[in-house]
């Protein structure tokens, strides 16, 4: 049961010409606080604890908390120390694995001698995702109040044991895109050489940033039906060639669900006419010597279930996607003209065969040829 209060605001925006303006907030009464991010799982990847400090709201950049002693203990008496491989990031060693069903507790001691510990948390087993799928929809997005076409990705899952009830998801999108010109040759200071590395096919990736949680608590069965994961509109280049989304599913308990839900309410859902009062979101990490010290963040423990799908152009109703190459022009010139055009921002696409006897060359802008300007030309290993 989700009551969307934002509707009323949308309505007003459309009817009464209500306006939303950008606001650059000045910093007031800055509080420098410890931030802990830790998700223990039972997979092969290392368990990572990220420690940082909060910053004034008018600044940017992560301030890592370095040099801390971080360890994890479980209810069988095992204790494992983590190692800081990059500033503020503490990794478990390869021999450490989380076990579902065990209770874990995180321990931190900073270089200033401040000690923190988490509540003990059960590493929960996560049921597999039933399916990730999409539907063609036209929706209003944050960028535009007019409806634009796109694909809405949904997720359905359930727990046959009826014991999970609380879920969280993260996703990673990867999509292939192509340059306007497939350049096979390069200009090497007067010499025309074949390209070694292609710059025509590239990939971009993006991870979820918003909180994705849902609960089946008020349903008769532990089912999450058609949970909206992401809307990909035609205002991006994602759907031009081939697109893939990987969804990771985590099981939560009621406390961690509430934590994430509060994060969503306080940090993502404000701006309605009926906003809640923002407040301190309390996590499960404390300074046992000073219970009033606020520690931001949460220690979660859950196994991970993943589901990846691919979509090729043509597998969904046709709609026009954004054209990033509208600015592109090209020119066909003789060898002698190449050098001067290169100085004007042009790049060599390659030789063009022509009826005339002399070899001619096609040139265009770099932004129309080199896809590595926007992404990577290394094909991901999962790419089909």
């Amino acid at each position: 049961m989700n009551v969307n209060r934002n509707n009323i605001l949308f309505f007003l925006l459309l009817i009464f010409n209500s306006c939303i303006f950008d606001f650059d907030p000045p910093s007031k009464d800055y509080e420098n606080l410890m931030v802990v991010e830790a998700l223990l799982h039972n997979g092969e990847e290392a368990f990572v604890v990220k420690l940082s400090r909060s910053i004034p709201i008018d600044t940017a950049g992560l301030i890592p908390e370095t040099g801390a002693l971080v360890s994890i203990s479980d209810n069988t008496g095992d204790m494992h120390n983590l190692t800081e491989y990059s500033p503020g990031k503490y990794y478990s060693s390869p021999d450490f694995r989380g076990h579902s069903g065990r209770m874990y507790q995180l321990h931190i001691q900073t270089t200033q001698g401040r000690r923190y510990e988490s509540d003990t948390v059960l590493l929960r087993e996560t049921p597999p995702i039933d399916s990730v799928y999409f539907k063609y929809e036209e929706r209003v997005t944050a960028e535009s109040l007019d409806k634009i076409p796109g694909l809405q990705f949904y997720l359905t899952t359930h727990d046959p044991q009826n014991s999970t009830w609380y879920y969280r998801w993260e996703f990673e999108e990867t999509w292939e895109f192509k340059s306007l010109y497939n350049s096979l040759q390069i200009w090497n200071d007067g010499l025309i050489e074949d390209r070694v590395e292609q710059v025509y096919r590239c990939w971009k990736r993006n991870s979820s940033t918003n909180v994705l949680v849902s609960s089946s608590k008020n349903l008769a069965k532990d089912i999450i039906s058609e949970f909206p994961v992401l809307y990909v509109s035609n205002s991006t280049d994602r759907l031009g060639v081939k697109y893939s989304i990987l969804v990771k599913q985590y099981a939560l308990n009621e406390i961690s669900y509430n934590y994430w839900k509060e994060q969503e309410n306080i940090n993502e859902n404000l701006g309605t006419l009926f906003d809640p009062q923002p407040y301190v979101i309390k996590g499960n990490i404390y300074n046992p010597e000073d219970v009033n010290e606020i520690v931001l963040g949460f220690f979660d423990a859950s196994s991970i279930q993943e589901e990846r799908i691919f979509i090729k152009k043509g597998e969904y109703p046709f709609f026009k996607t954004i054209n990033n190459y509208a600015h592109c022009t090209d020119t066909i010139v003789s060898y002698n003209q190449i050098r001067s055009l290169l100085g004007e921002g042009y790049m060599l696409v390659g030789e063009v065969s022509a009826q005339t006897s002399s070899v001619r060359y096609l040139l265009s802008y770099e932004s129309c040829i080199d896809c590595t300007l926007y992404g990577t030309n290394i094909e991901p290993d999962f790419w089909e």
Binding site: M1, N2, V3, N4, N7, I8, L9, F10, F11, L12, L14, F16, S18, I20, F21, D22, F23, P25, K28, E31, N32, L33, V35, E37, S52, S54, I55, P56, I57, A60, V140, D146, K147, T209, N210, V211, S216, N218, A220, K221, I223, S225, N258, Q263, I266, N267, E268, L270, G271, L273, F274, D275, P276, Q277, P278, Y279, V280, I281, N292, L296
Partner: protein, 922 residues
């Protein structure tokens, strides 16, 4: 001149000439307390005579008796026995005269007032003749007709007698509330009550009884008071609009009344305020009054002198209305055409009101025109409305019915935007009322009200809510000194949210609140110096706090029905307004209220000295239907005093205690569509508000300009606040989310008002603070470390200016200007990266303010011509809301989007909004 002579002749003839008695004027009939006028109509049908008289002469004459073939003269002798009147029967015309001349005996003490103790026959005759001449000179007008009240035979040694009756509008019979009825030398006066009823005790003898009321011509009646009697008086509307008044309290009432913090608005005044989107809106106009705040432009609810929104008792025709708005607070749900007046009590609240601790907004409904059928209505960009009224029985019974509806659904369908096409926003309200005057001592009033809202955006969630009420009242006058009103009232509020977008999660959520009120109110006028109100009331509340059901066959939503809440709030009260001397009066009121929280209910028992949460439940108690779970009771003292400092100024002091047993749960800054009302229970104690206020009132220019300064201090106990992140919807154990709060507010309100003239209006400046403290004995639950913090509606500086200028009788312009300090918001103190996104950390509540608020509205009113006989009177109003187009900030908020934090300012009305409204009357 000829008329005058004729009348003089009549008077003499009636006393001196032996009247011829034609044989054939014989009538039969049974009469039971019918007015003389009805009697005349009857007689004129039966026999060929014509009566000639002035209505004023016979106002107080009622005919009772059974006549069988009786000579008309005998009948008239019976009727006029013990009255002032005599008659002359010419055989064709029966001329009724007001007879001073025939008096052979004057009431005792008639001349006592002039200081003459010796009554000689010479004096008598001299006086007598002089009077005849005087009276005759003026006898053509109602105002100078002498009316004899009571009868000399009943006269006793008691020097005073009382007159009581109704003051009504001559045009449509609508009772006039707050009209002043008074005599001079000695100055004795009373004001009419909500029924237009007055009772005044004055020394016996001849008096000029004067009447005054805003919007009506001053009038007077010449009376000779012999013993207790009745006198209904009709007042003519003041049709000279140049004298119309904007916001009124009755002239010099602000000086002479004992009340503090009372604002009276009549509907004529309301219509002068520039409307928003063409709607004359009672609640928005209340916001223009000093001491009344809102969280923001689009915010539901209002805050009076630092109280929260649920602490206002909004009464519409006696019934409490729990959500008095349409469209989530944009418009008030009262049709302006059926409203007679609006009283806002924010300072001293009379003892007969109870149940909310901050204010009473009493919206009084009009009574139907009991003289002729008429109607009014209008069309604005948002709504169309029509009100009809008229007599059911002339002068006896009338009805009024008003309907208002938006046609926004139709407009939405015309818009090009697909989302709006798929949206709906509809509301309507209906009000109807009938009034019956059964006889002079008994009247029955009955009315009903229904308002309904529905909203959905892009076919997503559907919201709907309704207010329903029905009232019936019986007013019985025992004698001139005491009457009672017995009322039965039902009031209900319900809302519904449903969503069927996703088959599995489709749900339907219902909330409903019902209350049944029975009360008996007495008004007693033992002497002019005391006006006593006493009575009792009982309210039965029933609340269904949440009923969640799956919608459709596929839905898996687990049905959940929260236990109903039940309670009874009862009270007895007495209040006495005592004029100790003409310049010093006191109001002392005492109300004792008792509340019982009743079963059926399952009540958790928590371990002592531990937070009320799920882990500390030690026992569960079951209560059966109507079992008493918890009782709260306590006295509520109401006191105010007035002392005149010279004739044009006064000083007033007031103290108030109020108790409140029903509370609204809201943890949003403004009232949201999912907020609900709950009852006091074992763990939710009644809210208690104490207010002390002091005021200085001064009038200038013959009461044309009023000014006042009021200061107040208010303390609120048991305010409800909530733990961070509290879930209030569908929460069976709401006590686990509550923190007990305290409120403290204080302020000074300055008001200058010019009531008459081409340029009229008022301006006010208010300085006020509203602070809240929410402290828990358990760590981590306190808000702002248990220290006082500003409430969301704490806006210290507030200026309101409302002006109206009449260019001519047909064209007027109005302007409204509002300024206030920006409201406090909770502001982030740090940013951090978590979960692949920058996020904000908020700390203490309400420590930062949004920019100040400023708005200017203008409107031009064009009236049709004022020919009285014109069939249809119409007017056009052109108004512009927010003329300067200032982007007043409703809220500042931050959202994590795409890994970054973005800050935004939201303005609800960022542009000037022009509208045209057409109103008509027929």
């Amino acid at each position: 001149m000829i008329t005058r002579l004729f009348l003089i002749a009549n008077i003499f003839l009636s006393s001196l000439i032996v009247v011829a008695q034609p044989e054939d004027l014989i009538i039969s009939g049974d009469y039971d307390q019918i007015s003389f006028r009805d009697f005349v109509l009857d007689v004129e049908q039966k026999i060929p005579v014509r009566f000639m008289y002035h209505q004023q002469m016979v106002d107080s004459i009622f005919v009772t008796g059974s006549f069988e073939k009786t000579d008309i003269n005998e009948v008239l002798d019976v009727i006029f026995k013990n009255t002032n009147c005599s008659y002359l029967n010419t055989g064709y015309d029966i001329i009724i005269t007001d007879n001073i001349s025939i008096q052979t005996e004057l009431p005792p003490n008639f001349f006592a007032r002039s200081g003459s103790n010796v009554i000689s026959s010479e004096n008598l005759i001299f006086d007598f003749e002089k009077q005849i001449e005087e009276e005759t000179n003026r006898i053509n007008t109602k105002e100078n007709t002498v009316i004899k009240i009571g009868s000399a035979s009943e006269s006793s040694d008691i020097e005073k007698a009382s007159i009581a009756g109704y003051i009504k509008n001559a045009k449509d019979g609508e009772p006039i509330i707050g009209a002043l009825v008074y005599i001079e030398n000695p100055q004795i006066g009373v004001a009419t009550d909500q029924f237009g009823y007055y009772s005044i005790a004055i020394p016996k003898g001849k008096w000029e009884l004067k009447l005054k009321s805003m919007g009506f011509k001053d009038t007077r009646r010449q009376i000779i008071l012999q013993s207790d009697g009745k006198l209904d008086i009709e007042m003519e509307e003041d049709i000279i609009p140049l004298k119309e008044v904007v916001i009124e309290s009755e002239s010099d009432i602000n000086i002479s009344g004992v009340q503090l913090g009372l604002n009276k608005l009549d509907i004529q005044a309301l219509k002068k305020v520039p409307p928003i989107l063409g709607e004359v809106d009672v609640l928005r106009i209340a916001l223009t009054l000093p001491g009344v705040q809102s969280v923001g432009e689009a915010a539901n609810g209002f805050h009076v002198r630092g109280g929260s929104a649920d602490q206002n008792l909004v009464l519409f025709y006696e019934a409490p209305i729990y959500n008095p708005t349409h469209f989530f607070g944009f418009f008030s749900s009262f049709n302006p055409d059926v409203i007679k007046s609006v009283d806002l009590y924010k300072g001293s609240i009379p003892a007969h009101y109870g149940g909310r601790i901050s204010s009473v907004l009493d919206v009084q409904a009009k009574e139907g025109n009991n003289k002729k059928f008429s109607g009014s209505g209008g069309i604005s960009p948002v709504t169309a409305r029509l009100t009809l009224e008229g007599p059911i029985l002339e002068d006896k019974a009338s009805f009024i019915a008003g309907f208002r509806s938006t046609y926004s659904d139709w407009i939405l369908k015309q818009l090009p935007n697909a989302d709006l096409k798929n949206s709906s926003a509809s509301f309507y309200d209906i009000f109807g009322k009938v009034s019956f005057d059964l006889n002079e001592n008994n009247s029955i009033y009955a009315g009903g009200y229904f308002s309904k809202d529905g909203f959905s955006f892009n076919s997503d969630t559907l919201y709907g809510y309704t207010n329903t009420s029905a009232s019936i009242q019986w007013k019985h006058i025992y004698n001139n000194k005491i009457y009672s009103v017995l009322s039965g009232v039902y009031s209900g509020y319900s809302y519904n949210i449903s969503n069927d977008k996703n088959e599995v999660n489709a749900f339907n959520l219902d909330y409903s609140l019902d209350n049944f009120i029975a009360k008996m109110d007495f008004s007693y006028f033992p002497t002019n110096r005391h006006k006593v109100d006493f009575g009792m009331s009982s309210i039965l509340y029933g609340i269904q706090p949440g009923d969640l059901t799956p919608k459709g066959e596929e839905a898996l939503i687990r049905p959940e029905i929260l236990e109903e809440e039940q309670g009874i709030e009862s009270a007895v009260y007495i209040g006495d307004l005592f004029d100790i001397t003409p310049s010093f009066s006191l109001y002392f009121g005492f109300r004792y209220s008792i509340y019982n929280n009743l079963g059926p209910k399952t009540v958790r028992i928590y371990s002592e000295n531990a937070p009320l949460d799920d882990d500390n439940v030690v026992d569960i108690e079951e209560y059966g239907n109507f079992d008493n779970i918890q009782t709260y009771h306590g006295p509520e003292f109401r006191f105010s005093a007035r002392y005149d400092l010279g004739s044009n100024s006064s000083l007033k002091l007031g103290f108030n205690r109020m108790r409140q047993y029903i509370h609204m749960l809201s943890n949003t800054t403004s009232i949201s569509p999912t907020d609900i009302w709950i009852l006091s229970s074992k763990y939710i104690e009644p809210q208690i508000g104490d207010q002390i206020s002091l005021g200085y009132f001064k009038n200038f220019n013959n009461n044309a300009i009023e000014s006042s300064v009021e200061i107040y201090y208010k303390n609120i106990e048991n305010l409800l606040d909530f733990k961070n992140g509290a879930l209030l919807l569908m929460n069976e154990n709401i006590e686990t989310e509550i923190i007990k709060g305290e409120g403290r507010s204080y302020g000074a309100e300055f008001l200058v008002k010019k009531k008459t003239g081409k340029l009229n209006g008022w301006m006010s400046y208010t300085y006020s603070r509203a602070l809240i403290k929410a402290e828990s004995e358990f760590s981590g639950e306190s808000i702002n470390n248990g220290e006082y913090f500003p409430a969301s509606y704490d806006k210290p500086h507030n200026v309101n200016v409302l002006t109206n200028y009449k260019f001519s009788r047909r064209i007027s312009i109005s302007g409204y200007l509002a300024y206030s300090t920006g409201r406090p918001i909770t502001y982030p103190v740090a940013k951090y990266y978590y979960g692949n996104s920058a996020r904000l950390h908020y700390s203490d509540r309400n420590q930062f303010r949004i920019p100040d608020y400023f708005r200017l509205d203008l409107s031009i009113n064009l009236e049709g011509n004022h020919k009285i006989k014109k069939l249809n009177h119409s007017s056009w109003t052109f108004s512009v809301y927010n003329v300067t187009g200032r982007n007043n900030v409703y809220s500042i908020y931050f959202v994590s989007q795409g890994g970054k934090v973005n800050g935004y300012k939201l303005s609800v009305f960022a542009n000037p909004i022009p509208t045209i409204t057409y109103n008509f009357k027929f």
